[in-house]
C-alpha cells in the first residue's frame, strides 16, 4: 500500500485486526472452557447467512445505527456522552406513553409524533448533564452515568405506577395499535426503522462534512482551547452536541418501542450504550465505517443468542467478545501510532481526535 490510500486504510486494518484478535482470543477461551469454538463460530456463520439471519440482523441494526449517530456527534466534538442507556429509556418511555394516546390519527402522523417524542425524551435527559457541564464545570462522564441509574429507576417507577396500563397486571404501558407500528420496507420483513437509522448516520456525516455547526464541533473535538481562542461559543456548542446526542439515543428508544415491542415494559433495558461505544470506536468515529460495524454487532447480538441456546454457551459471550474487541483496538491504536504516525506526521484522518487523549478540564469561561 502506498501513500495516502495506505495511511487512510491503516486504521481500518487496525480495527479489523482487533476484531480478528478478539474472535481468536474468545475461541481459545471457549476451548479452555471445554466448548467447541469452531463449531460455535460455524453455527454463528451458518445462521447469519440464512435469509432469516440477515433479516434479524438488519432489524437489530436500526437501534445501533441511531445510538451510533448520537455517539458520533458527541465524541467527534470531544463530548463524552456515556448516558446513552438513560436517554434511550426516557425516549422509549415517552413513545410508550405518547403513541397509544393518539387514537384515530393517521398512522403516519402517530409515527412522526412518536419519533419526535422519543427524540425529545432523550434530549431532555441530556439537559441536566449539559447544564452541569457548562454552568458548574462538572465533567459529563460522571453525570451522564449517574443519569443512567436515575433513568432506570425513574422509568421503572413510572411504568409501575403513573403511566401503567391499568387493564393488565404486568407493569407496562398501553399496547400501541398494530396499525400504528412501523411498517415493513416493501418486499422485506425489515421495518422502516432501519431506514431511519441509515438516515440518521447520513445526517451526521452531512453535518460534519457540509455545515458550519459540524465544522465547529470538529474544531472543538480537535482542540478545545483553540476553539475557545477562535472565539467559538464553546459552552453552547458543548450543550448542543450533548443534547443532539441524547436525542438520537431517544430515537433508538422510539425505534424499539414502535418497531419491535409495541409497548414499554418494566425492567426492560437493552443497554446499547456499551455496545455503541465499542462499535463507534472500532469504526474510528467514521460515519461510513459505522455501517458495516453496526451490521457486525447486530449480527453478533442476534446470533449470539441463538448460539447460546444451541451450543450451550452463555449469552454473556457476546459482551466478552465486544469488550475484547475494544481492548485489542487499544493495542492497535498504540501500534498504529508507533508505526504509521511518525511516517506521515500524524494526520486527522488516521487518528480521530476523540480517541486521542482529552484533558478533562472545563477550561472555558462561564
Amino acid at each position: 500500500m502506498s501513500g495516502r490510500v495506505g495511511a487512510a486504510l491503516a486504521p481500518l486494518a487496525g480495527s479489523l485486526l482487533a476484531v480478528a484478535a478478539a474472535f481468536i482470543a474468545c475461541g481459545l477461551f471457549l476451548e479452555a472452557r471445554g466448548k467447541h469454538a469452531l463449531a460455535a463460530y460455524r453455527f454463528l456463520a451458518d445462521r447469519g447467512l440464512t435469509s432469516f439471519g440477515v433479516t434479524e440482523a438488519l432489524i437489530e441494526m436500526a437501534p445501533l445505527l441511531l445510538v451510533s449517530a448520537g455517539l458520533l456527534i458527541a465524541l467527534k466534538a470531544g463530548v463524552w456522552n456515556i448516558g446513552i442507556d438513560g436517554q434511550f429509556l426516557v425516549g422509549a418511555l415517552a413513545v410508550g406513553v405518547a403513541a397509544p394516546a393518539l387514537p384515530g390519527l393517521p398512522a403516519a402522523v402517530v409515527i412522526a409524533v412518536s419519533f419526535a417524542a422519543g427524540f425529545a425524551g432523550g434530549l431532555l435527559w441530556a439537559v441536566v448533564p449539559a447544564l452541569l457541564r457548562v454552568r458548574f464545570g462538572l465533567n459529563e462522564i460522571i453525570t451522564t452515568i449517574m443519569m443512567n441509574y436515575v433513568a432506570i429507576n425513574l422509568t421503572s417507577w413510572l411504568v409501575k405506577g403513573p403511566v401503567k396500563d391499568p387493564s393488565v397486571v404486568p407493569p407496562q404501558t398501553k399496547q400501541i395499535p398494530y396499525g400504528d407500528m412501523l411498517p415493513n420496507i416493501p418486499g422485506t420483513q425489515v421495518h422502516i426503522g432501519l431506514l431511519v437509522g441509515l438516515a440518521a448516520v447520513l445526517l451526521v456525516a452531512a453535518l460534519y462534512r457540509f455545515t458550519t455547526l459540524g465544522f465547529r464541533f470538529w474544531v472543538l473535538g480537535q482542540n478545545r482551547r483553540a476553539a475557545l481562542h477562535a472565539g467559538m461559543p464553546v459552552a453552547r456548542l458543548t450543550v448542543i452536541a450533548l443534547l443532539l446526542s441524547g436525542g438520537f439515543a431517544g430515537l433508538a428508544g422510539a425505534n424499539d418501542v414502535l418497531g419491535v415491542k409495541g409497548l414499554f415494559q418494566g425492567e426492560w433495558n437493552p443497554a446499547y450504550g456499551f455496545t455503541g461505544f465499542a462499535l463507534v470506536f472500532l469504526a474510528r468515529l467514521s460515519s461510513l465505517w459505522v455501517l458495516p460495524f453496526a451490521y457486525l454487532f447486530a449480527f453478533l447480538g442476534f446470533g449470539g443468542e441463538l448460539m447460546a441456546r444451541a451450543a450451550n454457551i452463555p449469552v454473556y459471550f457476546v459482551q466478552l467478545l465486544e469488550g475484547l474487541m475494544l481492548a485489542f483496538l487499544a493495542v492497535a491504536i498504540a501500534v498504529e501510532r508507533a508505526v504509521v504516525a511518525p511516517r506521515r506526521q500524524r494526520s486527522a484522518a488516521t487518528v480521530p481526535a476523540a480517541v486521542e487523549p482529552v484533558a478533562l478540564h472545563p477550561e472555558e469561561q462561564p
Binding site: 449517574m146 456499551f274 461505544f277 475494544l326 487523549p357
Partner: protein, 314 residues
C-alpha cells in the same frame, strides 16, 4: 411513630448504611490514588465485578474468607496492571481502555458464572468474624451500627486512616500527587512518573477487587452477574467528591450508603414508598453534592493525560 420504632429505624439506617459504604469506600480509596496520579479509571466497575466473581468462586471452593478476599484482590490487581499497560506504557485513551475493561469484566464474569454454576445460584457459608466493642456498643442508635460490626468494617476504617497518612506524610504520597499534577516537574525532580502511576493503578485495581470480593464473599455471600450495578462509577464520583482526601471519601461513602439503605429503613417505619423512587436518591444526591462541594478546576491537572518523556504539549 413510637420512639422504639424510630430508634430501630435510625440504627438500621446506620448499620446497613455502613455495610453498604464499605465496598464504595474501598473502591473510591483506590480510585483516589489513581486519580491523584493522573489516571481516570472507568474500568473500576469491571474490576469490582471480577473481584466479586473470582472472590466468590475461591471462597466457594475453599470455604475460606481470607482466600476469597485474596482472590478478589488478585483479580482486581491483574486488571489494574492491564489498565496500566494500555494507558501508561502504550498511552491509549483512558476512557476507551476503562470502558473496555468494564465491558470485559461484565462479559467474563457473567459467562463464567453461568457456565460454572448454571441456574443454581449457590450460596456461600463463610464465617465472617464480628467484633463488638464492650460498653461502646451499648450506646443507643450509634452503638450497634458503629461498634458491633463485622471485621472488614474496621479494616476499612484502618485503611482510610493509613491512606490519609500515606498521601500526606510519605514520599510516595507526594510522588503520586506530583505525577498527576505536574508530571514534567515530577520527572525533572527525579520521580519516575510511569512507575508511580503503575503503583497507583495497581493499588486502585487491588482495592476495587477487594471491594467486589467484600460484596460477594463477606456481605451478600452470593454472586449475581452485574451485581455491582454501577457502584464502581459511584466510587469514581465519591473520589472526586471527597477531593481525594480519604476521610472525606469515607464520609461521602457513608452518606451514600445511608441513602441506599433508606428504602429498607423506611419499611421498618412502615412508610409506604416505592423503592424505585428511593433508589433514585443516591444518584441524584451524588450530582447535587458534586455541584455544591466540588468547584471548578479541582481535578488534578494531568488527569487522563498520558505522559511521555521529552514531550511537552502544553
Amino acid at each position: 411513630m413510637s420512639e422504639a420504632q424510630l430508634q430501630a429505624f435510625l440504627a438500621t439506617l446506620l448499620g446497613t448504611g455502613l455495610i453498604a459504604a464499605v465496598p464504595l469506600t474501598l473502591a473510591a480509596l483506590g480510585e483516589t490514588f489513581a486519580e491523584l496520579a493522573g489516571l481516570l479509571n472507568l474500568g473500576i466497575e469491571g474490576m469490582m465485578l471480577s473481584g466479586a466473581f473470582f472472590g466468590f468462586a475461591a471462597a466457594l471452593a475453599t470455604g475460606s474468607l481470607a482466600v476469597g478476599l485474596a482472590a478478589g484482590i488478585g483479580a482486581g490487581l491483574i486488571l489494574g496492571l492491564g489498565f496500566g499497560l494500555l494507558t501508561i506504557t502504550l498511552r491509549v485513551n483512558q476512557i476507551l481502555v476503562g470502558l473496555a475493561i468494564t465491558i470485559v469484566g461484565l462479559g467474563l464474569t457473567g459467562f463464567l458464572f453461568q457456565d460454572s454454576y448454571g441456574q443454581q445460584f449457590p450460596r456461600l457459608s463463610v464465617h465472617v468474624p464480628e467484633i463488638a466493642i464492650p460498653l461502646l456498643r451499648r450506646i443507643p442508635i450509634l452503638g450497634p451500627g458503629l461498634f458491633a460490626q463485622q471485621i472488614l468494617v474496621y479494616v476499612t476504617f484502618a485503611l482510610v486512616a493509613i491512606a490519609g497518612v500515606v498521601l500526606t506524610r510519605t514520599r510516595f504520597g507526594l510522588e503520586v500527587r506530583a505525577a498527576g499534577e505536574n508530571p514534567f516537574a515530577a520527572d525533572a525532580a527525579g520521580v519516575s512518573v510511569a512507575r508511580t502511576r503503575y503503583l497507583a493503578i495497581a493499588l486502585g485495581g487491588a482495592l476495587a477487587g477487594l471491594a467486589g470480593a467484600f460484596l460477594s464473599v463477606a456481605d451478600l455471600q452470593f454472586f449475581n452477574p452485574g451485581m455491582t450495578v454501577g457502584q464502581g462509577f459511584i466510587a469514581i464520583a465519591l473520589a472526586m467528591l471527597g477531593r481525594w482526601r480519604p476521610a472525606r471519601v469515607l464520609a461521602g461513602a457513608v452518606l451514600f450508603g445511608v441513602l441506599e439503605s433508606l428504602s429498607t429503613g423506611l419499611q421498618i417505619l412502615g412508610v409506604a414508598v416505592r423503592p424505585e423512587f428511593v433508589n433514585m436518591l443516591p444518584y441524584v444526591g451524588i450530582m447535587v453534592a458534586l455541584v455544591v462541594l466540588a468547584g471548578r478546576a479541582m481535578l488534578p491537572a494531568a488527569l487522563a493525560v498520558p505522559y511521555e518523556r521529552g514531550e511537552r504539549t502544553g
